[in-house]
Amino acid sequence: MTAWSASVTVSAGGFDLALSIEGDDTPVALIGPNGSGKTTALRAIAGAVAVSDARVEIGNRVLDCTEREIHVPMQDRGIGYVPQGYGLFPHLTVMENVEFGLTVGARRDSATSRTERVGAMLSRLGCESLAHRRVDRLSGGEQQRVALARALVMEPDMLLLDEPLAALDATRRRAVRLFLAEQLSAFGRPCILVTHDVRDVLALGATVVVLEEGAVSQTGSLEALRTSPASDFVREFVATD
């Protein structure tokens, strides 16, 4: 069981975000209206956004602590990030995309070990047949698997997923949601997922954090949100089940 906490304050271009959340290995679903700061929150935890105040801890590792002037750079945080649209590298094949993290930085691996790890990950995610394909020729669901494989092969301490199902059509979404739930269950480490869909929360058994206008307005299980929704947005969200 890995306990984690993230308190970040961001002020940029007239937008203020003040977020304080914590959790364990249970996935956290970050929900909120458009423009409420969900993506900024993920990026702040990943270390990609300038923060005015931050304290981010995963397990016994302190990644950010403004008071103690600690700021671990993005490349050393051990946080996996899958953005909206997946951010796959279009000039590389599927295998090269998944392999990328093992060819750079402190976690660079030998060619033999790399091939083994990438092969095993592609196999685990059912992507072996795609290994030598160009990523721009993959379907949305395949791209999502490759992006997930690329993040998971690094064995991150935490996984951040920004609307992982948004680019898929309705029929694909159901299958990929179940697949994602299985993979995150197998991952067994902290995960924060941004979503607009209550079915994602249900499938993942996630704890919900509601972000509205740059601040957390409610936290709890889906049941708790149903029982006493803190805002019209929450009421609307739980009613779409």
Binding site: P83, P90, G105
Partner: protein, 272 residues
Amino acid sequence: MTNTRVLPTPIVRIGALFSVTLIGLLVLPFVAMVVTTPIADLRAGAAHPMFAPALWVSLKTSMTSLSITMVLGTPLAWWLASSRSSAARVIEVLVDLPIVIPPAVVGVALLQTFGRQGLLGPSLESLGVSVPFTGTAVVLAQVIVSSPFFIQACANAFRKVEPDMLLVARTLGASPSVAFTRVAIPIALPGLLVGASLCWARALGEFGATLLFAGNMPGRTQTVPLAIFSALEADVRLAVVFSLVLAAVSTILLVGIRFIPSLRRSPRRPPT
């Protein structure tokens, strides 16, 4: 897409006639140059004492100016592509200025900057440096007239690099410089090569600013376009030969420019 007949046939025919006329105007001068030049003239032109030094000065200065533009222009293009500030939009317009300003005006402006009576001339002279009518002047003139082509193409190419791709590369362990060289540069590469080709072609063909600011001294500042200008006064046939060489180089560049964007790396073959 299916063909749809939006315009009436007579209009289409008139349009086709206009198009053919323009294509004829574009191509005919080059065809005339090729068909009216006997092979013997080509050989004589290539052996002329003016030819090799002018070609050497052209290649040396244009490659130098291209290198300078790439080193100085790539960071600027990256900033123009990634910044949303109004300052970036103002700088973008400033960078484009040399495209619309006539090269002769650029030559005069350079003289007013680096000439003896210019803004920086006296200070440079006190340091024992004189820029006008030297090889450096040729390079400077070329950098100014050609760099906008590189920066524009380069900025457009960098705009294709989604910030999320770099962000992901960083979370996967890449430092900022590794993310730039392993992700941004390869994605933008076709556009960067097009920009470099256009920039080099413009530098190679530069005439007006070079003539005014660097002069027309054989072996020192006389590039091929200036050699054509000098040869016209003495021997038209020689000017035609020099022109053919320059046109051939430019055509090769154009073919390269058209070909490069479709040059996408093929995926690695699966092991058999």
